[in-house]
């Protein structure tokens, strides 16, 4: 009998069917993220569907044993469709007392704890806030606790490699990974390959880590583990056929931007300034100079957006990226791009705020900023990605809108999407329809104010084109000639045309669909962004028990799809779950005069499926 079934018995059997949540937790220097990502890769290759949630502190190396320095990596995997990183933890791996005390609350009753007893020293216990050792005082009764002197085991395992004590102890995470891999019947070969690659220049370290990994694995195989702890057997997931890889949202977003440039048939210039959690986009793109990609690390956020704007003026697509506080700094320049009607993509990987807030935690609280956070009537399209894989398509769409409508486009991602990974059905770029940019080359009748009559996009004439020399700038320009104009009627007209252009995009985007359920009924959950997975599962579970509930997930936040208002009016109630204090809900209420209800969470943590399910039940009342 496997642990999974036992765990399943102990909670709602309908909710967990051959799926497991594992969380690795330790000091921020314990290598938990690396452990998690290797386990994820092995799990993906095993054929399970999965979703991950890396949750780490802002401190790079917090003082050892401190609760605020605990870094965790959670993975939810199983045989069925997985769209969140899971509500509750089945197996909790803790490298020290601080990791235990901060994570125990999420462990299911009867769940498994794997703990390194060597790290449960008096000093660490006190630092974590324990009066007595929980591994010994019986307070963990009700869980299945596997206590191992991991540090001692590791030191013995790596002894032949002659590492210093410090480096030997660092192999602890790989030892633990080996043990957990045994527990879930994962293949270690990918991790071994990764270690060989990562430490190519330090073969001793590579071999020591591999020895630790193998040692942890064989320990589990031969040791007497508590009763009920056996190898988990999890069926392969039934997913769409094709070639898969793991990807975080940042990776697929980066690839999406490159793909967008290729479909638009223009080079991209990516300019940004380091900020958590957005920097990895710059890192990823900087590795792909073989495509028409130039990356630029600017001196600040303003320089970054300005360089991107300059690059668009120069005839490439300028792209900039940041998180909320950095987007605030870019705001003035974004309005310049809107006024001069130059293409520009701005990616906001949202984080907990305001101000520095919680840089490594996730939130959806920059929607208002995206929609309204600029001076004057600066309107621009805003689109949001909903899953790590979706980031690819949304990035392409951002490039399409920017280049086809000569406008800055704001793309909203968030810290969860950026760092979370999931199996990604690798797209085939040849299946996408190109949207090549048409630069103006004909001097006949040219003015920089010329527009496409359909899209209202301003003409794009790049420097270097003979006969099209012209000036643009932030001062209001004549609708007819593009020259400076302070004429009152002209300003009205230009304001109107800028707005009409953005509003008109609604005619060039797909209508809003219902992602799950009927297109009318008692209740619709309306979400946007990374809440997709949790809403999807909650609606699925509610529908399985007969509830009349649908899920609508909005990608186009500005302008909304033309049919959105009519679609929403087909439901008796609307519930809008958001990781903010209620931003989309206010927009929907104002725009469509509907009594949309709110469900808000601003803890830096994604929604749990249960939290949304409870809200559905409470709204639908007894009839569910």
């Amino acid at each position: 009998m496997s642990v999974v079934e036992k765990v399943s018995d102990s909670i709602d059997a309908d909710q967990v069917t051959s799926a497991v949540v594992v969380r690795f937790a330790g000091d921020s220097g314990d290598g938990m993220q690396l452990t998690g990502s290797n386990f994820t890769e092995a799990t993906a290759l095993h054929g399970n569907d999965l979703a991950t949630f890396p949750d780490f502190p802002a401190e790079i190396r917090a003082p050892a044993g401190a609760t605020f320095g605990v870094s965790a990596f959670q993975i939810y995997f199983g045989a069925d469709e997985v769209t969140t990183a899971g509500d509750d933890v089945d197996v909790l791996v803790v490298m020290n007392p601080a990791a235990l005390i901060t994570n125990l609350k999420d462990l299911l009753p009867g769940g498994v704890i794997i703990a390194d007893s060597d790290a449960f020293t008096d000093k660490n216990l006190v630092r974590a806030g324990y009066q007595s050792n929980p591994l010994e005082d019986g307070s963990l009764e009700g869980y299945r606790v596997i206590v191992i002197e991991i540090t001692k085991q590791v030191i013995a395992a790596v002894e032949p490699y002659g590492l210093s004590h410090k480096f030997a102890v660092r192999c602890k995470n790989m030892w633990t990974l080996g043990l957990v891999m045994w527990l879930f019947d994962r293949d270690r070969s990918v991790t071994i390959e990764n270690l060989e690659k990562k430490f190519a220049s330090k073969p001793d370290i590579a071999q020591a880590n591999i020895a630790a990994l193998n040692s942890g694995h064989s320990y589990a195989e031969t040791a007497e583990l508590p009763s009920g702890v056996e190898v988990y057997r999890i069926q392969r997931a039934q997913v769409a056929p094709g070639l898969y890889r793991n990807a975080t949202g940042t990776e697929s977003l980066a690839y999406g931007l490159i793909a967008g440039g290729r479909l638009a048939e223009i080079p991209i210039t990516f300019a940004s300034y380091p900020i958590t959690p957005a920097s990895s986009l710059l890192h990823t793109l900087a590795q792909h100079k073989e495509f028409d990609v130039v990356t630029f690390q600017a001196e600040d956020e303003i320089a970054a957006v300005c360089a991107a704007i300059g690059a668009s003026f120069g005839g490439t697509l300028g792209i900039t990226s940041s998180s909320g506080p950095g987007i605030s700094l870019k705001a003035e320049a974004i309005s310049l791009a809107a006024a001069t009607e130059l293409p520009l993509v701005i990616v906001n990987t949202q984080r907990g705020g305001p101000s520095t807030g919680m840089p490594t935690k996730t939130e959806q609280s920059d929607l208002n900023q995206a929609l309204f956070g600029r001076h004057a009537d600066t309107t621009l399209p805003v689109i949001a990605s909903s899953t790590p894989s979706d980031c690819f398509d949304v990035a392409i769409e951002a490039v399409r809108l920017a280049t086809q409508f000569s406008t800055p486009v704001l793309l909203l991602s968030d810290g969860y999407l950026a760092n979370a990974s999931e199996p990604w059905l690798v797209p085939d770029l040849t299946e996408y329809t190109p949207f090549p940019v048409q630069f103006e080359t004909n001097p006949e009748g040219f003015t920089p104010a010329n527009r496409d009559p359909e899209t209202l996009a301003r003409v794009w004439a790049k420097p270097g084109t003979p006969g099209l020399e012209h000036r643009i700038g932030g001062i209001e320009k004549s609708y007819e000639t593009g020259d400076i104009s302070y004429d009152p009627d002209n300003h009205q007209k230009m304001t109107d045309v800028r707005k009409a252009k953005i509003d008109g995009i609604a005619r060039f985007i797909p209508p809003q669909t219902v992602s799950q359920g009927n297109d009318s009924g008692r209740l619709a959950l309306v979400g946007w962004g990374s809440t997709y997975g949790a809403i999807h599962q909650a609606v699925k579970r509610a529908r399985a028990t007969g509830a009349d509930v649908s899920h609508i997930h909005i990608r186009y936040m500005m302008p909304f799809p033309e049919n959105l208002g009519a679609l929403l009016s087909g439901f008796d109630s609307i519930l809008v779950p958001e990781m903010n204090t209620g931003q989309l809900v206010e927009v929907l209420r104002a725009k469509y005069l509907i009594d949309a209800q709110r469900l808000n969470k601003v803890s830096g943590q994604p929604f749990k499926i249960r939290e949304i399910l409870e809200a559905i039940h409470s709204l639908l009342g007894e009839s569910v």
Binding site: N246, A304, G310, A311, G467
Partner: protein, 338 residues
């Protein structure tokens, strides 16, 4: 292709009415540059003028080239983007003391440090014009303005000193109304590969009139300016009777009279444009104690930023071979679901 035809000043003038105040030094600079354009070998369509905000930043509207009038202080960043997008373009940045050294000081620092191949013309009139006369970061201590009715109290900076400190590899100073001097300086700035920084003393007749009279006035000019020429001794004054000597004890330049106290021409420092230390000393000289350096203070070319960027891209491309996007997506660990 059309046969190359000789362009004139007119070809570089737009139909826009120039809107600077009567008597503004900007008119003279505009004329000099419009006249210079046909003499440099850049096709008109490859020329781009980028500016920020302020009186001087209206400049691009009057140049019949590509132009971008951007936002306050950010012209160096926008210009960097233009150059990264297309290194073939010949990009000029027009800025002022407020735009380039106050709100945009950080960008100026970094564009010079990076050495992006741009010509940066900083019109220094020691005052904010467009916002109606507040003191600027180059205003002398004691400048009375609407925001400093009792006189400014903070120390001004010297633009050329700033540029040298930031690592600029071409630094020059010239004067708005002196086309004969400005033209060759700008030609050299243009020929220099990398960021060329040119400070132009520019008179604001409305808010700071006559601020540079001490150096522009023909009568006193010989005493107040030090005309720089590479390889020539640093002499000035009537009949070039005065010169600058390095005091070995104080490590500072001092004014000496040739022929007095045993000073001969041999004792006078010879201008060396490639000497950053000397250039920094020259940049800091100010009237009335010293003559002010006019001309090319420093010129020592190094590979420009965008050149290095594209060189790196070329190397990567050669190493990686043909860029196949679908293949890159399929690199690393993948698995197939049947």
């Amino acid at each position: 292709m059309n046969a190359p035809q000789k362009l004139t000043l007119k070809d570089f003038s737009t139909d826009q009415e120039v809107r600077w105040c009567p008597g503004c030094g900007d008119y003279a600079i505009l004329k000099t540059i419009q006249k210079l354009m046909p003499e440099i070998d850049t096709p008109k369509e490859n020329t781009v003028f980028v500016s920020g905000i302020g009186c001087s930043s209206r400049f691009p509207y009057y140049m019949e080239t590509y132009g971008f009038h951007t936002i306050h202080g950010r012209a160096p960043s926008i210009a960097t983007g233009v150059k990264l997008a297309n290194p073939e373009l010949d990009v000029w940045v027009v800025t002022g003391d407020g735009d380039g050294l106050s709100i945009g000081g950080n960008h100026m620092l970094h564009v010079l440090r990076r050495n992006v191949d741009l010509q940066i013309l900083l019109f220094n009139n020691e005052i904010y014009g467009l916002t109606k006369g507040q003191y600027s970061p180059t205003s002398k201590v004691g400048t009375r303005s609407p925001s400093t009715p009792d006189g400014s109290v903070d120390m001004p900076l010297r633009p050329c000193t700033f540029a040298l400190g930031a690592g600029a590899r071409f630094v020059a100073r010239t004067i708005d109304t002196e086309a004969k001097h400005m033209t060759p300086v700008l030609k050299r700035a243009h020929a220099h590969k990398g960021a060329s920084f040119v400070e132009i003393y520019q008179n604001c007749p409305v808010y700071n009139d006559g601020i540079f009279d001490y150096i522009k006035d023909k009568k006193s000019a010989s005493e107040t300016r030090l005309m720089l020429e590479h390889g020539q001794p640093l002499v000035f004054g009537q009949d070039n009777s005065q010169g600058l000597r390095l005091n070995a004890k104080t490590l500072q330049l001092e004014v000496v009279t040739i022929g007095e106290n045993g000073v001969s021409l041999e004792d006078i420092v010879v201008h060396d444009e490639t000497n950053r230390i000397l250039a920094t000393m020259l940049a800091g000289l100010s009237a009335p104690d010293f003559p002010e350096a006019i001309g090319v203070l420093y010129c020592q070319a190094e590979t420009s930023y965008e050149n290095s960027v594209y060189q790196q891209i070329k190397t990567v491309r050669e190493k990686k071979g043909i860029a196949d996007f679908n293949a890159v997506l399929r690199q690393g660990h993948t698995w197939t679901v049947q």
